[in-house]
C-alpha cells in the first residue's frame, strides 16, 4: 500500500514544472459562450474589460502532470475535479508563466478500496511576475486491491 506520508514529505510544495502560455481571446470567448456565459467581458473580445474565463484557465495544462521522480501508483486514474482562484483579471494575448507543484496528497477509503488524491497547483504569473490566478487539478487514483 502506498505510503501517503512518505509521498507528502518528498513531493509537496516543490515546483516540478514551468510552462509558458498565451490565451487566445477568440478561444476564450468560444469557451465562455459554449458554457452559456452572457457577460460581455467574457464573450466579447472587443470589450475593454475582456478577460479569460475560468474554464479556459482550468484547461491550461502543465508540461508534466507529476514530478519526474514521482512513483507510478498503478490503479485507475481519473480527473477528479478542477478549481480556479482569480486574483487579477487574466487578459488574453499576454505571456503567462505557469509554475506547478503538488499542493496536496491524501487518501480516502471506502467500500471499494482506497483512493489517492493528487492535487497539482499551477500558479499563473504575467511577465512582470504578478500572480494573476491559481488553478488546481485533482487527480484521483483508485488503488488496485492487491496494492
Amino acid at each position: 500500500m502506498t505510503d501517503i506520508d512518505d509521498l507528502r514529505s518528498k513531493f509537496l510544495d516543490l515546483e516540478f514544472d514551468r510552462t509558458g502560455f498565451v490565451i487566445d481571446a477568440e478561444q476564450s470567448a468560444t469557451v465562455a459562450k459554449a458554457s452559456g456565459e452572457t457577460r460581455t467581458e467574457f464573450i466579447d473580445p472587443t470589450d475593454p474589460d475582456f478577460e479569460a474565463c475560468a474554464p479556459i484557465l482550468a484547461s491550461l495544462a502543465s508540461g508534466r502532470r507529476l514530478p519526474i521522480d514521482f512513483p507510478a501508483l498503478g490503479g485507475i486514474s481519473m480527473d477528479g475535479g478542477k478549481a480556479v482562484a482569480c486574483i487579477k483579471p487574466v487578459r488574453p494575448g499576454i505571456k503567462l508563466t505557469g509554475k506547478t507543484h503538488l499542493h496536496d496528497i491524501y487518501a480516502k477509503s471506502g467500500r471499494s478500496g482506497r483512493m489517492i488524491f493528487l492535487v497539482s497547483r499551477m500558479q499563473l504569473y504575467d511577465d512582470a511576475g504578478e500572480h494573476l490566478a491559481t488553478t488546481d487539478s485533482r487527480q484521483v487514483i483508485r488503488e488496485r486491491p492487491d496494492q
Binding site: A34, S35, G36, R39, F42, G81, K82, A83, D136
Partner: protein
C-alpha cells in the same frame, strides 16, 4: 432573480435553477476551443461508446463554465473569486441537466458570498458539485 449588491443576498436562498446547453454541438465547440478534441470522447457518441463510455461526454471543465455562467446571471456585478468543482460522475452530452446553487455563507465585512453548487441529471443524480466564493462591489 438577480442580486446587485451583497445586501440583496439572503442566506439559504437558492439561485434560480438553470438548464445549460449540453448538446453535442456545444460540447464539441467547447472541446475544440480548449484542445480536448480529436478522440471523439466529447464530440461523437459512437466514438465515445467505442471507448467504453455510455456516450459522448461534456468536458468536466465545461461544468465549471455552466456554474460560473449561472453565478454571473444571478449576480451581474459579482466576480467569481474562487470556484472548486468535483467531477463525481460524467455529464453526458445531449442529456438534460440542471444547475443549482444555494447561498451558504455571507461575509458582509469582505463583501463575499459562498455558494454550494450542483449539476444534476434528469434522474436527480449529482454529476458535479462544488463551491464558489463570489465577491461583490463594496457597498456605497
Amino acid at each position: 432573480m438577480t442580486v446587485q449588491t451583497i445586501s440583496d443576498v439572503v442566506f439559504g436562498d437558492e439561485i434560480t435553477p438553470w438548464q445549460p446547453d449540453t448538446s453535442l454541438e456545444a460540447s464539441r465547440s467547447f472541446a475544440q476551443a480548449v484542445g480536448y478534441s480529436g478522440s471523439g470522447r466529447f464530440e461523437d457518441h459512437e466514438k465515445a461508446r467505442a471507448q467504453g463510455l455510455p456516450g459522448a461526454l461534456v468536458p468536466g471543465i465545461m461544468g465549471m463554465g455552466f456554474l460560473t455562467s449561472m453565478i454571473h446571471r444571478w449576480a451581474p456585478r459579482g466576480k467569481v473569486k474562487h470556484i472548486d468543482t468535483v467531477f463525481r460522475a460524467p455529464v453526458l452530452a445531449d442529456h438534460d441537466h440542471t444547475v443549482t446553487a444555494v447561498v451558504t455563507d455571507i461575509d458582509e465585512e469582505n463583501d463575499e458570498v459562498v455558494l454550494d453548487l450542483t449539476i444534476k441529471n434528469a434522474q436527480e443524480e449529482t454529476r458535479v458539485f462544488g463551491t464558489a466564493t463570489v465577491r461583490f462591489p463594496p457597498a456605497g
